[in-house]
């Protein structure tokens, strides 16, 4: 079996990103070629508006067959930087260029929540609406809404909380006309944090729903 690992490095702003293809033959299992696992590592750096500190971001999102794990996204609105690139699976899944345009809300695939809350904050309504619009126009596209919580409190409660968050997004999307068949909800609670930190900055990043597009 051949596993092709595609690694993209995006450095700096969108106009000077450099894609690098690294093809590696990883494992010796039998597997048909159409079951290729794509790993896209998107590294972006964002410049903070008020300082020159570089905040490196890493997103790992896999194609339909691989583990649906995502990690390491920094929310620009929290850090004073620019939001960009949380839909790292854009190229692997053949999603349109609008997902890479940082001015387009579709480029934001993560919705953040307040502590112990599953209410959608006003600043994310535009993001949800953009994904709803896209899903309505692309009825063959499906998404998994992955609910997450910060590490505080008990784990099963956090699983429930992550699900309530994902359901809030699903409910809004359905109101906006998305077919419920296109939406699936999974909650990981606190099991898959985006940030391993132990402060409010990290916890803010972990209280989230990730809109994970699936391969066609």
């Amino acid at each position: 079996m051949v596993t092709i690992e595609l690694v993209f490095y995006y450095l700096g702003a969108k106009e000077n990103r450099i894609p690098l293809f690294i093809i590696s033959f990883l494992m010796g299992f039998q597997m048909s070629l159409n079951k290729i696992i794509l790993f896209c590592v998107v590294c972006t750096s964002i410049l903070s508006g008020c300082s020159s500190t570089e905040e490196k971001k890493q997103g790992l999102l896999n194609g339909a067959d691989a583990d649906a794990s995502t990690s390491g996204y920094s929310d620009g609105s929290l850090l004073g930087g620019e939001e960009f690139g949380d839909n790292a699976n854009v190229d692997a899944l053949g999603l349109g260029p609008e997902f890479r345009d940082p001015n387009n809300p579709l480029s934001k695939g993560i919705i953040y929540f307040r502590y112990d809350s599953s209410q959608i904050k006003p600043e994310f309504v535009e993001v949800v609406a953009a994904h709803s619009e896209y899903l309505k126009n692309h009825p063959s596209r499906n998404v998994i809404l992955e609910g997450h919580a910060d590490e505080r409190g008990s784990r099963e409660y956090n699983i429930a909380l992550g699900e309530q968050r994902a359901k809030s997004i699903a409910r809004m999307m359905k109101i906006q006309g998305v077919n419920s068949r296109q939406l699936e909800i999974v909650s990981y609670g606190e099991e898959k944090p985006a940030s391993d930190g132990m402060d409010e900055t990290a916890w803010q990043l972990n209280r989230r729903v990730e809109v994970v597009y699936q391969g066609k």
Binding site: D116, R155, E156, A160, V186, S187, G189
Partner: protein
């Protein structure tokens, strides 16, 4: 095909992480008081072809009694003699060393892999035997035998059941390449020895729960990218999938008679408590709130279930009859009370209790409804009573490291269970 591949991946992964690589657990008493009852565990005598016994039973018994917080054991260095028979004891010498009790014993290898163990417990002041046992066991069970001797001594001297033969289950996570993690469900003796892997996955494992006979474990696994609840028999590793409904399948808890499993499902909307009959497989929906209902736990008589609900806005504990009916809110103090668990006598509940952002372990007396906060951490969670109700095992954080701790319900004694690698969480003490 895909599932087949995943199975191979999992199997090869498990094969790679051989049992020898399991994280080693050591216990340190971090708080409190030494015990107050002086007891001397004299090294056991040995008779057999080998130079010494395959296992030093007295050391294990000594460590068990030390860890209880009740006893103050005598160091071997301070023993003037090491009698192995009753008629060798000069009680006056042990009185002079301030001992109240002493234990002597011997191990004889009577035949191939057959060890006869004999031990006696004496009151040093009265010069009287309190306890005496003789039994035969195999080499493999010598450690078990030491723990059961500790249990007998503890029970005789305190009137409460010993917990040294009990076991603990917990989840460890180890970082793998590519930001992946290996989750392992482990069972070890209560002193951390003999860790054995029950299952492993690269996706989260959660919420281990013991069956009342200690022979099975229920747990949540995300191995198929969705949550599912499995019940695994420990002796033969056979497991059955008991719940894999859409969305949440979580928080399994066996009824005291082992015939039913309380669990959380969200297949019909919000997370609610259900009861699955393990014999006829029927499913009964117990709670029906619009908010989150989760983390069910049975009272020892099986009549009541305590669970977490945010129907009042914040997570608080509620009780409901296990046959259905009205729910009653039981916690009112604090911003956050979750994961309630009844004590073995049913008189109190342990919970995660948060005030001002600090998550701690508390115990509530069910009659007076007064809450005692036992721990002082910021991230304490997953309390689990010892089978005798004297200790609570819980997950905590030391710096960035996830650790397990045990605290006595009077808060006087605390121990840390430290692992040499990886993270550990979600402890569950066996019945």
């Amino acid at each position: 095909m895909y599932i087949f591949l995943r199975t191979i991946l999992l199997v090869s992964l498990i094969g790679f992480y051989a049992p020898s690589s399991l994280a080693k657990l050591t216990i340190k008493i971090t708080k409190g008081i030494e015990g107050t009852v002086p007891v001397a565990i004299v090294p056991f005598g040995w008779q057999g072809p080998a130079m010494k016994a395959p296992l030093d039973l007295a050391t294990i018994i000594n460590a068990d009694l030390d860890s209880s917080g009740v006893f103050k054991t005598l160091s071997r260095r301070d023993m003037l003699t090491t009698p192995t028979k009753a008629d060798q004891i000069r009680f006056r010498n042990w009185q002079a060393l301030g001992q109240e009790y002493m234990v002597i014993g011997k191990v004889n290898e009577v035949s191939q892999d057959q060890y006869q163990i004999q031990f006696q417990l004496f009151n040093v002041y009265k010069g009287q035997q309190h306890l005496g046992y003789r039994f035969t066991t195999s080499k493999q069970n010598l450690r078990k035998a030491a723990h059961s001797i500790s249990d007998k001594i503890y029970e005789k001297l305190t009137g409460k059941k010993g917990i040294f033969s009990s076991r603990i289950a917990y989840i460890t996570t180890t970082a793998l390449a590519k930001k992946q993690k290996l989750y392992e469900l482990i069972i070890a003796d209560a002193d951390g020895s003999r860790p054995r892997r029950i299952t492993a996955s690269k996706e989260p494992l959660m919420s281990p729960a013991w069956s009342p006979d200690g022979k099975k474990i229920a747990y949540v696994s995300f191995e198929n990218k969705r949550s599912a609840i499995y019940i695994q028999t420990l002796s033969n590793k056979k497991r059955i999938k008991v719940a894999s409904y859409p969305r949440i399948n979580g928080a399994p808890s066996f009824s005291p008679d082992g015939t039913r499993l309380a669990l959380t499902l969200s297949k019909d909307g919000s997370p609610d408590i259900y009861i699955l009959n393990l014999i006829d497989k029927s499913l009964f929906k117990l709670t029906k709130s619009f908010g989150i209902d989760t983390e069910p736990s049975w009272s020892p008589d099986g009549k009541t279930i305590i669970y977490t609900s945010d129907r009042g806005g914040k997570p608080q504990l509620y009780t409901i009859s296990s046959s259905g009916g009205q729910s009653r809110r039981v916690t009112f103090d604090g911003d956050y009370n979750a994961r309630g668990q009844f004590s073995p006598d049913g008189k109190s509940i342990a919970m995660v209790h948060a005030n001002n952002g600090d998550y701690r372990i508390a115990v509530m007396d069910m009659a007076s409804r007064s809450i005692d906060v036992l721990t002082a951490g910021r991230y304490d969670e997953a309390p689990s009573f010892s089978p005798n109700g004297e200790m609570i095992l819980y997950a905590s954080k030391k710096g960035r490291q996830h650790v397990l701790s045990a605290i006595s319900i009077d808060g006087r004694m605390q121990r840390n269970l430290a692992f040499n690698k990886g993270e550990v969480r979600e402890p569950a003490w066996s019945p």
